[in-house]
């Protein structure tokens, strides 16, 4: 019976590896072949990360001279000190900028998307479908195609090279509106809205005290999507910003990397910096993984 029902495999307590076939259909051979393949791919996926961790503990000299996939003398603390001291300590602002652009941008963007998606799902008004189509059109506009005209427009108002020139365009998430509409339609029952209206609750109050709570799992998903999109956005800060104090960490590390030929010590610093910037994100991802799955399922299954 366990063979038929246990398809999720989410049992960390299970004993490791293919020592114990679970049913008559699974030959030891097919378990071994499957596991072998999964292991090979896992090595492919994790090896660069392992290499990054190993490299960040090395001195610049050992980075070049020692074998890349194993540790040599431990220099991680020196590297970290150098990383945060470089260019009057510009690295920490980079990290904070990234958090601010992505964190605050995604938070605001999620709230705006949730409100708009909720309105599109729960109210009937003229032009609703037209508005929704326009939003869908917005989803299709590639962010890279937007970066150049946005730069020209911001330049007209003398607003390039500011925090806002990167932040404001990031709060717009048509994809978030699309997801919100699906989620609001599924998770906020009309009967409940009716009851709230009969009880005399205003539309805004109903939304903020009740609907928003019902939609909260969906909003975590939208927040994460949006967070990654902003965190990964490279072209927009690249065209907008000249002042390196405003850079997100990705752009900062990119500029270090492109100066390596002039200053080789930047090599180890960009590696250590990459590791430091990636660790919190990867951890957040792993912790919030189940929300991702929920969101991905909603995006992929409905059709």
């Amino acid at each position: 019976m366990s063979l038929l029902t246990d398809t999720t495999g989410a049992h960390p307590s299970q004993p490791a590896a293919g020592t114990r076939p679970r049913g008559p259909r699974e030959s030891r051979l097919s378990v071994a072949v499957a596991t072998g393949f999964l292991v090979v791919i896992a090595v492919y996926m994790l090896l660069p990360v392992f290499w990054l961790i190993v490299s960040a503990t090395k001195s610049q000299g050992d980075l070049v001279d020692s074998f890349g996939l194993w540790f040599s003398d431990f220099h991680l603390t020196d590297n970290l000190r150098a990383l945060f001291a470089r260019q009057e300590g510009v690295y920490l602002p980079w990290l904070l900028n990234s958090l601010l652009y992505a964190g605050a941008g995604a938070a605001v963007g999620t709230l705006l998307s949730a409100m708009a998606g909720y309105a599109l799902a729960k109210y009937r008004f003229r032009g609703r479908e037209l508005l929704f189509s326009v939003v869908l059109g917005g989803v299709l506009v590639p962010a890279t195609a937007l970066a150049l005209p946005l730069f020209l427009l911001f330049a007209k108002f003398g607003a390039t090279n500011t925090f806002w020139s990167v932040f404001l365009p990031s709060i717009v998430s048509p994809f978030g509106v699309y997801l919100s509409r699906i989620f609001a339609a599924a998770s906020v029952p009309d009967e409940l809205l009716e009851a709230a209206r009969i009880d005399g609750s205003g539309e805004l109050r109903t939304f903020f005290t009740m609907s928003l709570r019902l939609m909260s799992p969906a909003m975590v998903t939208i927040f994460l999507f949006q967070f990654v999109v902003i965190w990964n956005n490279f072209l927009l800060p690249l065209v907008m910003l000249q002042d390196d104090r405003l850079y997100p960490v990705t752009l900062g590390l990119f500029t270090w990397q492109s100066q390596v030929s002039r200053d080789p010590s930047l090599q180890i610093l960009s590696l250590t910096g990459s590791l430091v910037s990636v660790v919190p994100i990867v951890i957040t991802f792993l912790v919030l993984q189940r929300y991702w799955k929920a969101g991905l399922a909603a995006g992929a299954v409905k059709s």
């Binding site: 499957a34 596991t35 290499w51 708009a116 009937r124 962010a143 890279t144 399922a297 995006g299």
Partner: protein
């Protein structure tokens, strides 16, 4: 630049969803007259949406119709004149741009099938009864997606660099002498970075779709004596069709927008030119102050993205019917 779009473009593949959400509505809310609530909810989104999406798109199109001309020689006065679709003729006749477009098309034709096939196989394996340690593998495959494109490209740049790379070192010792940064391989080196980053993400979409299938379908098939492989191929893959189309459209859009990886690799490889991909070409043009042609290039690229994603949807949609 792939990441920005993968998440942001799911809609194309699921055009049925909006109708699906509105159709089963047994008790619609009472149609109030002039209820201001929807407007209150919509404005906070639509004001920035108009300012930072619709206006820029319109502005790019407007800019693309203009041309800067110098009257009186190279150092003469600059004037902006209306050029109609002249800039587009320029873009479409530019061998560098066409070369970059051909390059990303070739890239997509090879990289997308490889990546999606790998993602499909992994998802099917993790959903099957033969795999062990499923939770660990699922997490391991998703880790690269958590790493920003710039950082992923930086990491792989080191792993390709013959002076630093342990991988090149090992391959050298084994007798192979790969030149990952050379002009013949660099495109596939970029392809490897993209595959590494997005396979796990695509796998998770496919896997999530698999989880939504009621288990009794498989049970019935097993009762009828179907093998696991047969169940995967005959039942699961057809069910996964919408998820595969979705990931396919994601990938097409991401490929056409390729920017981050080649831009990062440019700093260590001379094989990546300033017009290596269409997006790089547009960026280079804008950097050299030729905004009008850069705008025409961006609009052309956006249109090509539309045409190819819809073409793909039509193609896969028609096959489903026949």
């Amino acid at each position: 630049m792939t990441a920005d779009h993968t998440a942001a473009t799911a809609v194309t593949a699921v055009p049925a969803a909006p109708q699906a959400t509105t159709a089963p509505r047994p008790a619609p809310p009472p149609p109030r007259r002039r209820n201001p609530a929807p407007l209150l909810f919509l404005l906070p989104f639509f004001v920035p949406f108009v300012l930072f999406t619709l206006v820029p798109v319109g502005y790019a199109f407007y800019q693309s119709l203009l041309r800067t001309e110098r009257t009186g020689g190279t150092f003469g006065r600059k004037t902006t004149v209306f050029a109609g679709f002249g800039q587009y003729a320029e873009v479409l006749g530019d061998p560098e741009f066409l070369g970059s477009a051909g390059r990303v098309l070739l890239f997509g034709l090879v990289q997308i099938p490889v990546m999606l096939l790998l993602a499909l196989v992994l998802a099917l394996l993790l959903d099957s009864t033969v795999a062990r340690l499923k939770r660990f593998f699922r997490i391991a495959y998703f880790v690269p997606y958590g790493i920003p494109g710039v950082i992923a490209a930086l990491m792989w740049a080191f792993l390709y660099d013959p002076r630093l790379s342990p991988i090149v070192e090992l391959l050298d010792r084994a007798g192979a002498q790969p030149d990952f940064l050379g002009s013949s391989m660099i495109l596939w080196s970029i392809g490897n970075i993209v595959t590494w980053t997005y396979t796990g993400y695509n796998m998770l979409i496919i896997y999530a779709a698999l989880q939504a299938v009621p288990a009794d379908i498989y049970e019935a098939a097993r009762m009828d004596g179907a093998s696991e492989a047969k169940i995967a191929w005959r039942i699961k893959v057809p069910i996964l069709r919408p998820a595969l189309i979705l990931t396919g459209v994601f990938s097409i859009i991401g490929t056409l927008q390729l920017f981050t990886e080649p831009q990062v690799l440019r700093s260590i490889s001379t094989s990546v030119t300033s017009t290596y991909t269409p997006n790089l070409a547009a960026y280079s043009l804008a950097s050299s102050n030729n905004y009008h042609e850069a705008a025409a290039m961006s609009v052309t690229l956006a249109l090509a993205t539309f045409v190819l994603s819809f073409g793909f949807l039509k193609l896969t949609g028609r096959k489903a019917e026949s």
